[in-house]
Amino acid sequence: MSQTSTSPGAASLSLGRLDPRIKIFLFAAFSLAVAVTPVSGERRFAAYFLFLLAIAALSRQSLARSIKQMALLFPFLLGLGLTIFLFGRETPAQKLNLFLTLGIKTFLILLALQLFLLTTEFYRLLKALESLRVPSLAVAIVSFAHRYLFLFREEVGRLMKAKESRTFGRKKLHREITIVSHLVPAIATRSLQRSERIYAAMLSRGYDGKTIRTLDVLKLRKEDILVGCLATFLLAVIIIVF
């Protein structure tokens, strides 16, 4: 029980203390800068990568580990590559160039997103979304999804164990599919029942069925504004110089 959120050790990081609204702004600015970089901007892409490397070093995050975690996304990138090569009228060289550029852009933006999430406690992220006037229903959905994902996983795990404990002999694919198709409604029913109990718990503590209000705990400090300005300036320098 050493973790406080899904962001391991987020509170202890130097960038973890930065106001999440500033981080959201910086992430959006970085993503936009990367997205509008032309195909021929290899040097600028390298500068963006160095920029992320510096952030990772400042926040004591291992960029190598983040890249490893992103390996899951490579099949999607390959899918993107296939689409580019199968469609369009460009020459093969142009298609390859386009694929590499899109791949690099996706990689940089996702890496930035991962750094942002790793250095931000989840509840602070939600508060930031609330204070940036994101509809409370959307914030509530994200919040509930995060809160109950663990329980959902546990419930699925329990059902799968129960299934395993009563499965004898060799597994056959069609039988497995039949069993799983029976488990899905059971999981859905349990989820529905839990949602009803949660709603009852909310009502019993004064929820009026409209907006889920929470206490605003974010305070924008001078240091946050300073770091935000400095990072924006650095991004601008990268865009102008490279």
Partner: protein, 244 residues
Amino acid sequence: MKELSFTYPDQTCALRGVSFSVYRGETLAIIGPNGAGKSTLLLHLNGVLRGPGRVEVLSESVSRKSLRQIRSKVGLVFHDPDDQLFMPTIFDDVAFGLVQQERPVDEILERVMRILRALGLEGLERRSAAHLSLGEKKKAALATVLVLEPEILVLDEPASGLDPGTRRTLIGLLKKFSMTKIIASHDLDLVAEIASRVILMDAGQVIAEGNPEAILGNQDLLEGHRLEVPLSVVLRKALKNIPL
């Protein structure tokens, strides 16, 4: 509560004409086998469920109009703390009711921290309930209603699933609270220790009502309703019979 009945949409009849009174400051235990209607009954106490019949809380009838006021007076702690702890952090969960009441920020901060300290949960305020032990979750769920300073505390199976040490801590805490308490439980030893009156329910009806000695010592009555005399009562009787 007078002639209260309730049927779920799937036609399961959970309550059949239940009537009883609760007196200020007492600890009323509601016992009964699975499916007796205990949890359904508790949900009527602050208007989460409403069925035909009359429920009056602190001289006020439970109705759509009075819900807000009644819910601020009746604190309901659910059986499964994961149902009660739905916010991203323990702090937000404990503050939830006060924020809904639109209390001043300073007051919310002070009351939340005070209750967390009192229940030994200080330092966990930024954690997600997903990372707490069952004992911590149960205490946090209790904190979410105690912070509202309810006049009536309603608990559904407060000690189920707890290890003996945490159960003992919880019993100690419950004994300390001076407000009116209504506890639904299968843990008859806990009931014997803290209840001042006991109601036995089965099949949605009140079967018997009386002081803990009379109800919990009645073997035929309990066994007739899929319960058994708690060990603490058996031991007490046995010790009385041993000549000194």
